[in-house]
Symmetry: C2
Subunit: 208 residues, 2 copies
């Protein structure tokens, strides 16, 4: 299985690196990083650099494409070179996937038209504007399109993909390998569970 992992400026690194740590551990699977321009990209607040080993033109037919989210997705969802590439690789992928606001890029490319999909809870309305039917949950599979909710949901989605393609035993072994037995000190990980004032705090921060 050949996986193309998109990296870009102003991304949220965990959106990519969570699934990366799951997918790279499947025997025989290969993850390759790709970006609009080969070389270093910087995270949302510039404090972390990641390296894209390939430019878009170098990756033509991955089995899985994964689009992470982050502020930069607002730019890429209108970038024709990016959208052309997403449409092109989607023609031959087995799975076309996104994490968090990476789904906006899928939507910008017209690939969510009439599809059930999810994203960061703050942008579900935008997803609807792009023709998708927004639904809840950690990830949503509709045909070969799999979209994950915000940031850490990419880990759950990646384990699901591994189970689908390599079997539940491999997925369980990888879950144990990354000791994914989560125990957050608070129960504040979704807008339904967080206190209203916390939800408002995050909404306000997202407005900038």
């Amino acid at each position: 299985m050949d996986i193309a992992l998109l990296l870009y400026d102003d991304m949220a690194p965990l959106d990519a690196v969570g699934p990366y740590e799951v997918l790279r551990n499947v025997p025989g699977w290969e993850v390759r990083t790709v970006a609009p321009r080969k070389g270093e990209v910087r995270s949302e607040n510039r404090s972390l650099g990641l390296v894209a080993d390939h430019a878009l033109a170098e990756i033509t037919n991955p089995d899985i494409v994964l689009l992470p989210g982050g502020w930069g997705s607002r730019t890429l969802m209108k970038d024709e070179e990016m959208l052309d590439w997403v449409r092109e690789v989607d023609r031959s992928t087995k799975w076309t996937t996104s994490v968090c606001t990476g789904s906006l890029i899928l939507g910008g490319a017209g690939l969510l038209e009439g599809k059930k999909a999810t994203s960061n809870w703050l942008v579900l309305d935008t997803l609807a504007d792009l023709g998708a039917e927004p639904v809840g949950g950690r990830f949503v599979e509709d045909g070969k399109i799999v979209t994950a909710a915000g940031v850490t949901a990419g880990i759950d989605m990646a384990l699901h993909l591994v189970a689908r393609e390599a079997g539940p035993e491999v997925a369980q072994a990888i879950q144990l390998g990354i000791e994914y037995d989560p125990d957050p000190p608070f129960d504040s990980g979704s807008p339904e569970k967080a206190a209203p004032e916390i939800v408002e705090l995050v909404r306000a921060a997202a407005r900038g």
Copy 2:
């Protein structure tokens, strides 16, 4: 709060990027990446590059130091330049922390002598050899030393640190921001919960 995030060759990127995504989102906190040599480091299987913006000598008194794990920790736990740096920054840190086998570097530096600590479940015996008292759980706080269990446990530990330093509301807002409402498709994230044949599979893979 000034955070030094160690990067190195043959690391497990999620060990660093999980906590990074939590800590970088605290208002006023700054994360700086540091490695034995400034520039690109590659993950365990070489498929992901991350960029260290600073060499060890450039980072002298962070408030928090975080040491991620990965195969490369076996080398670094015996690397005198590395261990000298860890002992040096520990003199003035408020928190000295590790994720997964990053604790072996702390142990190599002599900082776990007589301390309760944790690590990847596969190396708890090694931790004891280094003078620590290995205990279970997602993370262990003993004085200013906080050690997390394998890979994803770093996210839980980082939320704990944020709660301690910036208060529970900030930690909860960040948990919501990264939608950390985990729902793994299997319950296989610890050796106590995984099926015995899965545990054996992971043990065998770790033996190489």
